[in-house]
Amino acid sequence: MLETFEKAALNNGLVTAFAFVGLIVLLSVALSRYLTLGRVHGSAIAIVIGLGLAYWGGIHSGGHKGLADLSLFGGIGLMGGAMLRDFAIVATAFEVQAVEARKAGLIGVMALLLGIVLPFIVGASVAYLFGYSDAVSMTTIGAGAVTYIVGPVTGAAIGASSDVMALSIAAGLIKAIMVMVGTPVAARFLRLKTPRSAMVFGGLAGTVSGVSAGLAATDRKLVPYGALVATFHTGLGCLLGPSLLFFAVKAVMR
């Protein structure tokens, strides 16, 4: 009987994922209400559970896609993959107050540039301190601190070695996880209240996954404003990483 049930779940991956994620959210909302008395947002708990399951899945399967590498949970890969994620993010734009978004346009662009340059400097400096003192490695690890996509794209363009690439992806992933988990905790310090503040956050914190999950766990209404800016972050980073930023590092290190 159990085998028949398993077969049904395997053959209907996406549907299984809907049911499974629904259960995680149900559990998280209950934990939020009774364990933290509503102080920690249900979605924040759900995201942490998701990350925990990803760790567990990664250990068990030895793959790179967390829980989605276990065949029973293959549907999670489709549900949380880039296609449906972007589809849902675009849908949130439906609630954007166009006037508010336009008011913060310029500050959003400024935040976007700072959000690439600041992490890059930090990442490249840390790399230097740990003995990665050639321009290619410093640029690749610095770009990884921008996002985990900018890192490998930059590294591939300027010919970084694979261990440096792995480090830069790891830096970006850790950053995304920190933003996901830390945003609701730091929301008050960050003054995350208005569309403008969410756009500043989206530009500076970067990583679509980190920003979208962090804002979702803080205040659902702010998601579209942050995501609107954050989606330009990776593209701009991939543009600046192998060009301007690489040349700057080369000039400094000479």
Binding site: A17, V21, V25, S43, A46, L51, L53, Y55, G57, G58, L67, I76, G80, G81, L84, D86, A88, V90, A91, A93, F94, Q97, V99, E100, I107, A111, G115, L118, P119, V122, G123, F130, G142, A145, V153, L167, L173, I174, K175, I177, F189, R191, L192, T194, S197, V200, A205, S209, S212, A216, R220, K221, P224, A227, V229, T231, T234, G235, L236, L239
Partner: protein, 137 residues
């Protein structure tokens, strides 16, 4: 019909990704530049235009809103497929680079947001809350 809303969303999504890819090619980078952002702008414009023309019945809106509401569950699924093991295996360089980047960005966000005028914050919060109430009514 509810599918009109979902189809509108899908068309904006595809068009945005397409334009983002074109933009990336024009700039000579290997990735999509702001495709999702462009799609969001297209959807905002489409909504304003269709509402102005009164071509946007509630049922059509629901075809978009459903996917907007599915956003958090999708993000949970996304979290469940991150390469957490690899991230933790990166060692001190990766952790310190990430931590430093997060801390310095958090300070910059806090600083910029503290420059926003209190009256502007109050006004913006009010529009956000009004929008939400109108949505539920």
């Amino acid at each position: 019909m509810i599918i009109y809303g979902t189809a509108l969303l899908a068309i904006c999504h595809l068009l945005g990704i397409f334009l983002g890819d074109l933009l990336g090619q024009l700039m000579g980078v290997k990735t999509n530049v702001g495709g999702v952002g462009i799609a969001m702008l297209l959807l905002i414009c489409a909504r304003l235009y269709l509402q102005h023309k009164q071509w946007m019945p509630a049922l059509t809106e629901r075809g978009v809103e459903y996917w907007g509401a599915m956003y958090i569950p999708v993000v949970v699924a996304m979290a469940a497929q991150q390469d957490v093991v690899a991230a933790l295996r990166g060692g001190p360089v990766a952790v310190l680079a990430a931590l430093g980047a997060v801390l310095i960005c958090a300070c910059a966000i806090s600083l910029i947001n503290r420059m926003e005028k209190p009256e502007a914050i109050a006004a913006a919060e009010e529009t956000l809350n009004l929008a939400k109430e109108a949505h539920h009514a």
